[in-house]
């Protein structure tokens, strides 16, 4: 089946079995190996790509459903500068600055999902950022630095005006171990069961 879609801003055509996973076509046919396979079941978000700006699990999207759409992978998140150098997206820069990564497998999905989420909800606070990123699992469990980086990226966009300021907190105005927010990675608390 012949398919046409926009891939990282460029018109792309492939001739493929329509039921193949978008993830496999991106990695194997189009050699964009930044999207990773973690679980293959839509739980971990390592395969996140953006379709028309929305984060999706590319392991669950049959490639036929890319036809006619605008697809962005991690390879398309950084822009090219005047001398051909890569200019990282501000979410990517913040992840680098904060060391918001360990083994790196979840990082492409996190950068894409966070970048899309901040576009949609520029005023997202720390608690909301955790919820928005709930579909991206980090098996190294380095969530704290990742969320720190995203809070910084939001602030740098001038979009964190609603962050509460707490004495002794970090640059983003919240403490390093803010226990008052709804943490999607925490076990259910007593009030829910």
């Amino acid at each position: 089946m012949k398919l046409r879609f926009q891939l990282n801003g460029a018109p792309t055509e492939v001739d493929v079995d329509p039921m193949r996973r978008s993830l496999d076509v991106l990695r194997e046919d189009l050699t964009l190996t930044g999207s990773k396979e973690g679980c293959g079941e839509g739980e971990c978000g390592a395969c996140t790509v953006l379709i028309d700006g929305a984060p999706v699990n590319s392991c669950l999207v049959p490639v036929a459903q890319l036809g006619g759409h605008d697809v962005q992978t991690i390879e398309g998140l950084a822009q090219l500068g005047p001398d051909g150098e890569q200019l990282l997206d501000d979410v990517q820069r913040a992840l680098v600055t904060h060391g918001g990564t360990q083994c790196g497998i979840c990082t492409p999905g996190i950068a894409l999902c966070a970048s899309a989420a901040l576009k949609r909800e520029p005023a997202a606070d720390r608690g909301r950022l955790r919820e928005l990123l709930a579909g991206n699992l980090c098996r190294c469990t380095g969530y704290q630095l990742i969320i720190d980086a995203l809070v910084t990226a939001a602030a740098e966009r001038g979009r964190a005006a609603h962050e509460p300021s707490a004495p002794g907190g970090g640059a983003d105005g919240s403490s390093a171990h803010d226990s008052t927010v709804r943490d999607p990675n925490a076990p259910p608390s007593g009030d829910r069961a």
Partner: protein
């Protein structure tokens, strides 16, 4: 290779369905694509994702709310009408996976799969929803429990499509609740789900009580005995205890990888008890 049909409108989708009753109906793929590469490819697929006529949302002439079967959780979450009139569905949509799943998963897909842990099914049961099906011989509407027949088994005929879900005109005035219990707050498959709704008479008595439960039997079900003990009564502590006892005989939970039957039974009782206590508090 799989024959891929992408209908341009509902009429085309219905003719494709009538001609190819064995083809897989696919929306966002969040259920059907899990493990798909390890199974034999389907002979054909009818791709319904994003079909305009399945993504409408509004009120029918008879006052009932209508949600197109193709609406994603993302669309449901963003809609002010859903938030105002169907808060239980809004809350459930927020807990289906995370952004990635919410962008693709649809109401119709959840119904078509009819999994015991389908998140919206207890909500649709509790909100008196009817499922609208369309085929060559016309339209028929079924209550949810006449549609979900068993474990991943529905009443959908092989020439029909799930078109929409409709809710009673007064649903927004009924008190609604949604509770999901899993291993963690985000991204977990449910151990127990409770959705419930009730109207209130002037004296505080409960009217049209509906209790929908998920992950506690082979298919989502209504707790009819529990509804009966609550109907017409004014909620108080004693009634909460009776309802919590009754619901444990309404359900048939099993031991599986996610939980144990006795845990599911105990938690279901607690969820019901808390809901009735909330209703009691609301009138004090």
């Amino acid at each position: 290779m799989t024959d891929w049909i992408r209908p341009a409108n509902l009429a085309e989708a219905l003719s494709a369905r009538a001609a190819h009753g064995d083809y897989m109906l696919l929306a966002g793929g969040t259920d059907l694509m899990v493990g798909a590469s390890e199974r034999a490819a389907p002979a054909g697929v009818i791709d319904l994702f994003g079909l305009d006529e399945l993504c409408a949302l509004g009120r029918d002439d008879d006052g009932r709310l209508r949600l197109g079967a193709g609406l994603t959780y993302e669309r449901l979450l963003a809609d002010p009408l859903v938030r105002a009139e169907l808060p239980a569905l809004h809350d459930a949509s927020r807990e289906v996976g995370a952004l990635q799943i919410q962008a693709r998963g649809t109401l119709g897909g959840n119904l078509g799969t009819c999994s015991p842990v389908g998140d919206t099914l207890p909500v649709l049961l509790a909100l008196d929803a009817e499922i609208e099906l369309r085929g060559p011989s016309g339209t028929r509407r079924l209550p949810v429990d006449a549609f979900c027949l068993g474990y991943r088994e529905t009443a959908l005929a092989d020439d029909e499509l799930i078109v929409a879900v409709r809710f009673p005109a007064d649903i927004g005035r009924r008190s609604q609740v949604w509770r999901k219990v899993g291993t963690r707050r985000a991204q977990s498959i449910s151990k127990v789900m409770l959705a419930a709704s009730t109207a209130r008479a002037d004296d505080g008595a409960l009217r049209n009580v509906r209790v929908g439960l998920g992950a506690i039997a082979a298919q989502p079900l209504r707790a009819r005995e529990t509804e009966a003990v609550l109907e017409g009564r004014v909620p108080d502590d004693a009634l909460a205890d009776i309802a919590a006892q009754t619901v444990q005989t309404d359900i048939a939970p099993i031991d599986d990888v996610r939980s144990r039957a006795d845990y599911r039974r105990a938690i279901t009782g607690r969820l019901v008890r808390r809901w009735v206590l909330q209703l009691a508090d609301a009138q004090r």
